[in-house]
Symmetry: C2
């Protein structure tokens, strides 16, 4: 342990550093925090004195002196769920490099709890806030008059003044269907998530665009909207294959749906991918790898979403805010065995 | 926003409160932090003055005055995985009631990163540390000479001086097999996780104890140890049912294994639970509910593990530490359709 943390030893303070360097406490503080205009020799003298004394600034006192606390608050609405965790890890990577610490709060999707957490974080003088959590639709802004910058990650604010960083679900739908077309599929169906989810509708939009460009109809006529579950995938595949027995590919709204679809396709005696190719969405490995065969899927690059959101926040804290709007991060195709050329 | 946070308004300080109340700054601080001996009238006068001025103590300054920061650090080694998240949520519940904020850090299971995070947290003067993250075996202590209390949750420290709060895996194995016996099963097999995991061996120990008490042999003679995966479940069920075709129940090391076992059992034309009953471990709902039929399983009460660990930490911070050792939290049986009476 550093000596300054041991209760038995008198802690070295910035006053000791200032005395040794022969400067005022204010000058020593500026030098150690890299702020204000100082001659290089002065800064050098203070740094040497600090090293000589083994001075470790008390992080709290440092916050008071510099007006910054080198902390950010991360507020999530989805109980640190499967989507917010990779976002958090990406954010931690970006912030860690800049020596920020992260206060995490979970709102359990309760607006009163959210307000409470935000007030607590502001009372702790965080330098900025990241708001995350998957939602059906864009969410209300946490406020336009906050004293610190805010960036939304994975979730989108309804206010055009706010910056939101989200995955490109439209592009993900395009990517999936272009891949199916590239493997020679022509009768492509779509088993989608719930219509109330913006992400589900955006994936449909991307798919529709690519099919129209290719001059192909959607097998079954319309997307089949249901739940994000294997059970729905099993039911929907049955509906689709009864209506359009010659369907040769199915784009699925997520990996759970794709897994259910795969079961029904197999049980109906169709081979994957020889007869019917399948593609999922999320790249949730526990699902995608255990599926038979392992699923080709679309990865939303969630770590990248978190990293970029955190970089925008750091820039805003440093006085270079990005203007409001939505920044989408491209998805990535992950090819496994559930897609490939058709074999008759 | 409170006025004191707006950069445009001069913040109300404790000095203003002290002046209005006619007391010293030290007395005002004691009154607002609920510390020291003061006459009730004095405390009352300071509180009224603070309310009148709309004084919101700067959380940082409050930390410096009281010697406490009302923060704890939560260090996880498993990338905020499926096991550490419920633990974190339980801890947040316990800490939230006491108005603590949580710094979260992920070590990505890298000892150097862990040391760095712990030093950063100590430099921020956290009041205590929670260490979490699933591991194969008990982990080394983060240190016995730290200036703040530490509690381990979900993971066990090798040092007997440390307090570790973990699920009762032995009891969970007992619970599973007692349930199978209660439904009339007599030829029970076990498909286990990797032998290198203490949790896997403990579940075996609980199972063995109950079978011995009942005077029953284990179907297949020995537990089948493999990976925590559906693929292993599929393979192992095949091995077990070839060796012991009259197996009437299988206790599975986790829900993924159980799901794979279920597939093979069905594919071999055996009914679940009529011919073969299945029980998993974890209560990972995405797996357990999507399995056919939905899985009876053992829930490790992870939220409870986190909550109790956090309560021990709060008590230690308040000067009432729990002595070192391992505290196990009972598992809960969750009954679904994969178990039930045998029907011939």
């Amino acid at each position: 342990m550093p000596d300054s943390l041991s209760p038995a030893t008198r802690a070295i303070t910035i006053r000791d550093v200032a005395t040794l360097a022969g400067v005022s406490v204010g000058t020593a503080s500026k030098a150690l925090n890299g702020r204000g205009k100082l001659r290089p020799e002065t800064r050098e003298r203070v740094t040497s004195a600090a090293e000589e004394l083994g001075f470790r600034p008390n992080a709290l006192a440092r916050g008071l002196l510099s007006g910054r606390t080198f902390t950010v608050g991360l507020v999530t609405s989805d109980s640190f769920g499967r989507f917010s965790i990779p976002v958090m890890l990406g954010a931690e990577d970006a912030l860690g490099a800049g020596q920020m610490s992260v206060f995490m709060c979970d709102t359990r999707d309760d607006p009163i709890r959210e307000r409470h957490h935000i007030q607590t974080l502001l009372a702790r003088r965080v330098d900025g806030l990241l708001v995350t959590g998957r939602r059906t639709e864009p969410r209300p802004s946490i406020g336009s008059d906050l004293p610190v910058p805010v960036v939304y990650a994975m979730t989108q604010s309804t206010s055009p003044d706010d910056l939101s960083v989200i995955p490109d679900d439209v592009g993900g739908g395009e990517l999936a269907v272009r891949h199916l077309l590239a493997t020679g599929r022509e009768r492509i169906g779509h088993v989608a998530g719930p219509y109330r989810f913006l992400a589900a509708r955006q994936r449909v939009a991307g798919m529709t665009k690519v099919l129209e460009e290719a001059g192909l109809p959607l097998a079954g006529g319309a997307p089949l909207h249901g739940e994000w579950s294997e059970e729905w995938g099993r039911q929907a595949a049955d509906i689709l294959l009864r209506a359009e027995p010659d369907t040769d590919a199915i784009f699925c709204g997520n990996d759970q749906i794709a897994r259910g679809v795969a079961e029904t396709v197999r049980e109906r005696g169709r081979r994957i991918p020889d007869d019917v190719a399948l593609i999922g969405f999320d790249n949730w490995e526990a699902m995608a790898l255990a599926s038979r065969p392992p699923l080709t899927t679309v990865d939303m690059s969630l770590g990248e979403v978190g990293r970029i959101a955190a970089e925008h926040l750091l820039a805003a804290i440093a006085g270079r805010p990005t203007s409001g709007g939505v920044e989408t991060i491209p998805c990535q195709l992950v090819v496994r065995e559930s897609t490939g050329p058709r074999r008759h």
